[in-house]
């Protein structure tokens, strides 16, 4: 494709991700409210939050590395969006595959770790240590799942995987042909989103939101934007791998919202696991499921 088209797609895909992510965050808050028998925020609440945070007039920064950390946190996801195909736009999906995407999805946590280290707040250091430990936990089943899908379809190119699933119809979706891997993938998506019971790294009342303790104003706005991207990326990746991508925008959005809604409905019924319990649990059940799924598809 020509350079102008590509440039347009590289701008539009993160924008689409941001807008869809805003509504995913709204959905999460509405689900939480309904489970708690409340009403929940109005329609554009995540947007109001982000505009308000970016409109703060005084800003506390702990140094250049603190600023760079936030840039890395958001930039990692922006780069990841360009590798996730949406109906009509493939971006760079054929140039970088699943492996690049897995690496790019680790950059935000590392960037946040850099920034939090500069903050020199003990709560932040504890929180980010827990976040990186949790990342070590959920990356194992995540990698197993990605490997299984790539092995099954014979390619790491997301656009090809989506095309193969759409050619086979709903019976040929990843969730139908590799059910155990799909279940393990859902587990990792839940842990990746960092919601209860895997939200030990935030722990609001215990370590004062962990890594976000010194982030205020524009930094927190950046982190809210990162949360929108995070929901979108996890949802769309799962849809691309297991639910046949999006034939058109309507089905694509329905599938992505459904994938994000399932962990959210479970999340607000639980307290949180301790870090070592989280590790033990994620290294046991999703990994076992993933390995069993791998064995099934290899035979």
């Amino acid at each position: 494709m020509d350079a102008l088209n590509l440039a347009l797609e590289l701008v539009l895909m993160p924008l689409v991700a941001f807008v869809v992510g805003l509504f995913m965050v709204l959905m999460m808050r509405r689900i939480a409210a309904r489970i708690q028998r409340r009403v929940g925020p109005p329609l554009l609440q995540p947007l109001y939050d982000i505009v308000k945070l970016y409109g703060k007039q005084t800003q506390i920064s702990h140094g250049l590395v603190h600023d760079i950390g936030i840039v890395m946190a958001v930039g990692g996801y922006v780069a990841a969006e360009t590798l996730l195909p949406v109906p009509g736009m493939d971006g760079l999906a054929d140039r970088g595959g699943l492996i690049t995407l897995a690496y790019l999805m680790m950059i935000p946590s590392l960037g946040l770790a850099l920034g939090v280290g500069q903050c020199a707040n003990p709560n932040g250091s504890i929180g980010i240590a827990r976040a990186l430990t949790a990342m070590l936990a959920y990356d194992i089943p995540f990698v197993i799942v990605i490997f299984g899908v790539a092995w099954h379809y014979g390619t790491t190119n997301l656009a090809d995987i989506i095309a193969l699933q759409q050619a086979a119809g709903p019976g040929g979706w990843g969730a139908a042909t590799m059910p155990l891997l799909a279940l393990a993938g859902l587990f990792s998506v839940h842990a990746m989103l960092g919601k209860q019971p895997f939200e030990i790294y935030v722990a609001p009342a215990e370590i004062a939101t962990g890594p976000m303790v010194e982030m205020g104003g524009k930094f927190l706005g950046g982190l809210f934007v990162m949360q929108c991207f995070q929901f979108y990326t996890a949802g769309v990746l799962y849809v691309s791998l297991f639910l046949g991508g999006g034939e058109n925008w309507l089905t694509f959005l329905v599938k992505a919202f459904a994938v994000v809604a399932i962990p959210m409905c479970i999340a607000f019924l639980f307290p949180r696991y301790r870090t070592e319990d989280l590790l033990k649990m994620i290294w046991k059940w999703p990994v076992l499921l993933g390995l069993a799924g791998l064995w099934l598809i290899m035979h």
Binding site: P41, P42, Q45, Y48, K52, E214, G216
Partner: protein
């Protein structure tokens, strides 16, 4: 921490700038920002006194505050509203001022309960501060003992209206009249009172300084200010504390 040097204070001009010279785009953008600020308030979940017991009912399912956009945040860096709920003992007032100075502007202070107005039930006590807005600029008082969640929410909606129309800018008053507030604080806490936040430096940096930012009390602060040392971290048995 930086030493307080003799800074030449650029006094703030007309409040807010000349409206005719601002373009249409700036005005629309400011209105949008004010609207979003009024619809998204992060309150600091710092429960100062007994009035804090009225906040959980206002946040939970019966009187849901999240539908107004108000959610609790746990650190002052992330919060917009400092809720001073209940009586303010002098010990607590020190921490409230420390917390207030850590928040990023625009920030709002709501004095909930009658104890912040004129001492309330504890007006005869030697250890409570009576009038809160001598030490901090206060945007709104919600009287009561305690005010019911309906009263708290009505007060919040009044604050949202004030923010939307631009009347809630008392946070700038802290920078503009820092000397006055510091004088009252020094009266309670002594001459050696200092906070880690460099308020005068911030006022100068953001262009919010006024004629009353520097005065006799800030001169006293500069005289007694010592650079802050990091806390010593020790492992092992605790030593006997000196009296």
């Amino acid at each position: 921490m930086s030493d307080l040097k003799q800074i030449s204070i650029h006094a703030e001009g007309d409040a807010g700038g000349d409206p005719k010279s601002e373009g249409l785009f700036t005005r629309v953008f400011d209105e949008l920002k004010a609207f979003c600020r009024s619809r998204s308030l992060f309150m600091l979940h710092y429960c100062t006194g007994c009035g804090a017991i009225e906040l959980p009912p206002a946040m939970t399912s019966r009187f849901d505050m999240e539908r107004l956009g108000i959610q609790p945040m746990v650190t002052p860096r992330q919060a917009d509203i400092l809720l001073v709920t209940g009586y303010v003992s002098i010990k607590t007032l020190k921490r409230i001022i420390l917390t207030y100075e850590q928040m990023g502007g625009p920030k709002y202070v709501i004095g909930i309960c009658s104890c912040t107005v004129n001492g309330g039930m504890y007006w005869q006590s030697y250890a409570t501060a009576k009038v809160l807005n001598e030490y901090l600029p206060v945007d709104l008082y919600i009287a009561g003992c305690m005010p019911r969640p309906e009263a708290v929410i009505t007060g919040m909606r009044q604050l949202m209206e004030n923010i939307r129309t631009g009347k809630a800018d008392s946070w700038k008053d802290y920078y503009r009249r820092y000397d006055h507030y510091l004088g009252n604080q020094q009266q309670l806490f002594g001459e050696r009172w200092q906070t880690p936040t460099d308020v005068i430096g911030e006022a100068d940096h953001y262009g919010l300084a006024g004629p009353e930012t520097i005065g006799p009390h800030t001169a006293l602060l500069q005289q007694h200010q010592v650079p802050l040392q990091p806390l010593e971290m020790r492992l092992g048995s605790r030593q006997e504390r000196k009296p």
